[in-house]
């Protein structure tokens, strides 16, 4: 398997977030929305690879995009890549979101960098009606609004501080939207607390939902058992593994930690 691909473009989205386009025909060919790639970020301090969700796939060009927020040494090193640089990427890994024809109306709910995997989901999902709810901390954090607009029948953006779009948490938006008209499935990605609340809202309305989880990874492919997350069994619980059993799980199955 060839792991060395090529950076095709880097586009700054805001102060600390950028979109990287990578040429990798095999990944573009087989990648599904919700899957992730595991990237060697380089730099003297990032030893392990870092996982990033497929954000947009261009199968014709043989490229895909990842959206990256600079959070620490790995993402910092990644931000220094330039066009045409070789880049070491493994993937695509994980299961991806469900793409059911029966789901006619869907809602996607994204918070912060959790919005990234939802874009490709919107691009590929066969539903006829797509509602998109995105939450950001403030106006400066809003990213990819136009791209989401293009792929949604309705898009609502909220900011925690009201500096852009609706004021408040995206979960409140979800609650009131579901009140107005229910959907067949909700797809959620964002901070753990946000996902927890969103899942509770869906549960209360008996609407099935899927969440995309994050966990610190070792191998990224299921060999090290590093990326455990707690899942409900019928009368017990167990650990599943985000890289292999996920990163997408049915919202009901996850035991969110405090």
């Amino acid at each position: 398997m060839n792991l060395i691909h090529r950076v095709r473009a880097i586009k700054q989205l805001n102060e600390d977030t950028f979109l990287m386009t990578i040429e990798a025909p095999e990944i573009a060919d087989t990648g599904k929305p919700g899957q992730f790639v595991n990237v060697k970020c380089g730099g003297p301090h990032a030893y392990l690879r870092r996982p990033f969700s497929l954000c947009r796939i261009d199968r014709e060009r043989g490229t895909f995009d990842i959206g990256v927020q600079i959070r620490g040494r790995g993402t910092e090193a990644l931000s220094r890549f330039c066009e045409n640089d070789p880049i070491d990427i493994m993937g695509p890994f994980g299961n991806g979101f469900s793409l059911n024809r029966e789901d006619r109306r869907i809602a996607v709910v994204g918070g912060g960098i959790g919005v990234f995997p939802l874009l490709q989901l919107l691009r590929e999902h066969p539903a006829s009606e797509k509602l998109t709810l995105l939450g950001f901390r403030n106006r400066n954090q809003v990213v990819l609004e136009e791209s989401f607009q293009n792929k949604s029948d309705e898009l609502v953006v909220a900011t925690d501080d009201g500096s852009y779009g609706a004021r408040g948490f995206v979960t409140s938006l979800l609650e009131s939207k579901l009140e107005e008209s229910p959907v067949d499935r909700v797809f959620i990605c964002g901070p753990a607390l946000m996902m927890k609340h969103a899942v509770e809202i869906c549960k209360a309305k008996s609407i099935p939902c899927e969440v995309s989880l994050e966990e610190r990874m070792g191998c990224g492919i299921g060999a090290c058992l590093g990326c455990a997350c707690k899942v409900r069994l019928s009368d017990d619980w167990d650990y599943a593994h985000v890289c292999k059993d996920g990163p997408v799980f049915s919202g009901e199955s996850i035991v969110f930690q405090e």
Partner: protein
């Protein structure tokens, strides 16, 4: 160039086509990495640490990155020895590589039972994990004193029908003392090092990064410590030593062989580079070609002082 290089080694009756083994806990039961290369290329596979009953392991996060290394607190999550025998051995036997069962227990009786079961199973050797830092009972409690090691090893020795490898912890004052205790109690070979006990803290949240607070350090960062211990132990005992700790490439393999190891295990490096195991073999072979070395035995313990 005609290649007459002999990579084969024999560790106390366990014959390996080459001295590179996948380290326990880093390679699962081989399935995941079989998508990347033919497992038959490996000298052997030490499977994920097994216990009598299935174990869930420790709460997440279980991995923290540290400078040139990682901490893990997986805590022996595994499906239990019976599921291993039923579900995993048949898969592994499709490949021409040695299977090493890594066994842990909470009590001496556990270890005995594990060895009894595994002696009847289709595995090529048993590696006794007396050194896992991530579980409360057992393991380290036995593994960090000579008397603990002597007790467990002498008891399982009587039941063991396979080559018996004892895996040592580096978190001790005098690793040679432990190595000698294992040898005297009947170990056929030793493997070292397991992980160094460490910890990572997130200054922002003021919390430990690992759910289990402490974890085991592995990867390149520990290589100097591992190399030193392999050097000391292989001078102190007569049985073969399998060296590991931070090996990432063929040069590292050569260094461990020179220090006295008869074979090596590669673990953490494979998380970053899934071809680390096969590249370690290729790198060793290349070194041997360049240095007119025809058999691995010429390198073992070949350090010039």
């Amino acid at each position: 160039m005609e290649n007459k290089i002999d990579l084969a080694v024999n560790i106390a009756g366990l014959s390996l086509k080459n001295p590179v083994i996948a380290a326990s806990g880093t390679f699962g039961f081989g399935r995941e990495y079989s998508a990347f290369f033919d497992l038959s290329r490996l000298g052997g596979i030490a499977v994920k640490g097994l216990t009598l009953l299935p174990r869930k392991g420790n709460p997440p996060p279980r991995i923290a990155e540290t400078p040139a290394g990682i901490l893990n607190s997986v805590g022996l999550q595994n499906p239990g020895v019976h599921a291993f025998i039923d579900d995993e051995i048949p898969f592994l036997r499709r490949y021409d590589t040695a299977i090493i069962a890594n066994a842990s227990g909470n009590t001496v009786e556990d270890y005995e039972e594990m060895v009894r079961i595994l002696s009847e199973a289709d595995v090529d050797a048993i590696e006794l994990n007396l050194s896992c830092p991530n579980v409360k009972e057992g393991c380290m409690a036995f593994g960090s004193t000579a008397s603990g090691i002597a007790r467990v090893v002498s008891r399982v020795r009587k039941l063991c029908k396979k080559p018996l490898i004892v895996k040592l912890t580096p978190n001790v004052t005098d690793i040679c003392e432990l190595a000698c205790a294992a040898e005297a109690a009947g170990a056929d070979a030793l493997s070292l090092i397991n992980t160094l006990l460490g910890m990572a803290i997130d200054a922002k949240t003021r919390r430990p990064i690992l759910g289990n607070v402490m974890g085991g350090l592995s990867g390149p960062a520990v290589k100097p410590v591992a190399l030193r211990m392999v050097y000391q132990v292989s001078k102190a005992v007569k049985i073969p030593v399998i060296g590991m700790g931070g090996i990432s490439n063929g040069t590292d393999v050569v260094e461990f062989l020179l220090a006295g190891a008869s074979a090596v295990m590669v673990g953490t490096a494979g998380f970053v580079n899934p071809y680390a195991w096969v590249q370690a073999i290729e790198g060793l072979e290349q070194y041997m070609v360049e240095n007119n070395c025809w058999s691995v035995s010429e390198l073992i313990g070949g350090l010039i002082l």
